[in-house]
């Protein structure tokens, strides 16, 4: 079995120690960091995303796999930086003002990182100003907002409105998601995309960034 396949398999079962050790071994063996990332860590998270989507695995399995992925990334990140390999993009992520439900947002964060994106996670109860200010500071391509409560969804509109006011609409793209959030709602508030689940959110972020 190739070492990359071993990384994938251990990532899927959530063995962070093995993924860390195997990533180090791959680096020492001279496998290119970009290849370890794409064919090891990202490939493993792709499988996890697919199985989760099919309800073959559940949140605990995803959390364990994510931990294994992070363990591998810790080994890989310094090398990726040194070689100047750019991430596919930066995403500022958070649950909107008034909303403390973060399971969905955390899943999206995990899947985005698993797809190689840099994620700046602002946590829960994030104000519109904070979303925009952080995206500016980090030169992020995308703002991702999540809401579980129908009553907090309207805070999303404040972000799209302010981006427009500040002439940033289109330069900083907005994706929204969460149980009560529909594609129609996304259009209505002027968001650029709607992710209906974590895997779909990653697909949509990819296409938003490739539009830029």
């Amino acid at each position: 079995m190739s070492i990359l396949t071993e990384i994938v398999e251990n990532l899927i079962v959530g063995d962070d120690e093995k993924v860390s050790a195997l990533t180090q071994k791959a680096i020492d063996d001279g496998v290119l960091p970009k290849q370890i990332l794409d064919d090891g860590l990202i490939a493993g998270m792709n499988t996890i995303g697919q199985q989760f989507k099919n309800h073959e695995i559940f949140l605990p399995d995803v959390l364990m796999a994510a931990r294994a992925m992070y363990a591998g990334m810790d080994k890989l990140r310094p090398l990726l930086l040194k070689e100047g390999i750019p991430s596919p993009g930066k995403v500022v992520l958070g649950t909107v003002r008034g909303d403390l439900h973060d399971i969905g947002k955390n899943l999206v964060g995990i899947m985005l990182k698993g797809a190689g994106f840099e994620v700046i996670d602002l946590g829960n109860d994030v104000s519109p100003e904070k979303f925009i200010q952080t995206a500016r500071e980090h030169d992020a391509a995308v703002i991702g907002m999540s809401a579980l409560l129908t009553t907090t969804m309207s805070a999303m509109k404040e972000v799209t409105y302010q981006l427009k006011e500040e002439g940033l609409a289109g330069r900083i793209k907005v994706i929204v998601g969460g149980a009560p959030v529909s594609a129609e709602f996304a259009v209505e508030i002027g968001a650029d995309a709607h992710g209906y689940d974590a895997a779909n959110a990653v697909e949509r972020v990819k296409s938003l960034i490739s539009e830029n």
């Binding site: 008034g98 909303d99 409560l149 129908t150 009553t151 529909s182 709602f185």
Partner: protein
């Protein structure tokens, strides 16, 4: 009042009330703030809501203490208000119903994910639940209602916390399931079979499901619970799944629809039938009528 569990053992079907959050929002409580703040700031609102559900025929009234565990309150920086919030909610319900209905003290998830999947020590969650249970039981709750859980391990801790404070207080324990093409699972992947076995083992008296589904899926969930054994069951259905209309959530299932369907829960032998998100005193009234009229069938 006859003890709750005795009535269940005699084969009676009890009616529990409907949604609390839906009613609070309808009465102007703002979403985003801690929903239990109302217990301190305007307990008369809780009395008003309890009164509506009692008048609609509920045998069991839930307290507004779903998020009043120390860990959950800590997310709002309100953990120092824990004791008073729990006591005030039990008091408000009791003021209204006296000994004419049961006050069910509600306890929801801590909002944290337990190790090894998350960062929270099980002991910390258990200690928090014990503190909440002490307040609820000392304030005179007739039963404890642990609900909307997705992690079986956490719910077991809550049930055991209640048991540690009172070995005899009736405890109902429900989980929230999602309907998937592969069957019903909680977000954490718990099946109905595992829930039934685990909750019984933990010492719950009545088990079942609340939230997450409309009445039709809830009937199927009840059937599957029934196949797992002869434990008394509780089902608290949403009034369907919310759809957004003009920026507001609308729950589609009417009181009549829900009550008519809920008749099947009687056939399955469900002991407690109540409502969750989107249900109102009108739903409770319709379920009450359905249960009462079935006695004469």
């Amino acid at each position: 009042m006859k003890p709750l569990l005795e009535r269940i053992r005699m084969g009676e079907t009890l009616v529990a009330d409907g949604a609390m959050g839906t009613m609070l929002f309808a009465k102007g409580v703002e979403s985003g703030q801690c929903p239990e703040l109302v217990n301190l700031n305007s307990p008369q609102l809780l009395e008003e809501i309890a009164g509506l559900y009692f008048d609609a025929g509920a045998d069991i009234l839930e307290t507004n203490t779903f998020g009043a565990s120390p860990l959950k309150l800590a997310q709002y920086g309100l953990e120092d208000k824990m004791a008073e919030m729990n006591r005030a909610a039990v008091r408000a319900a009791r003021n209204v119903v006296g000994e004419r209905a049961y006050v069910a003290a509600c306890c929801g998830p801590s909002g944290r994910i337990l190790k090894p999947y998350g960062d929270c020590d099980p002991e910390e969650v258990y200690d928090g639940f014990v503190k909440q249970m002490i307040c609820l039981i000392e304030a005179g709750a007739d039963c404890i209602c642990v609900e909307t859980m997705i992690d079986l391990a956490e719910e077991v801790l809550a049930v055991k916390a209640a048991r540690s404070v009172s070995p005899t207080i009736p405890v109902t324990a429900t989980m929230t399931f999602d309907a998937t093409p592969r069957g019903f699972f909680t977000v954490m992947g718990v099946t109905i079979e595992r829930a039934a076995a685990g909750l019984r083992e933990a010492g719950a008296d009545v088990i079942g499901s609340n939230c997450g589904n409309g009445i039709e899926d809830m009937i199927e969930i009840a059937r599957q619970f029934r196949r797992c054994g002869d434990m008394p069951l509780i089902i608290q259905s949403n009034a369907g799944l919310p759809e957004l209309k003009d920026g507001h959530p609308v729950y589609g299932e009417t009181p009549e629809f829900m009550a008519e369907k809920a008749h099947e829960l009687l056939d399955i032998g469900v002991s407690i039938i109540g409502g969750c998100c989107g249900t109102t005193p009108e739903h409770t009234r319709a379920i009450r009528q359905m249960v009462d009229s079935s006695i004469y069938e």
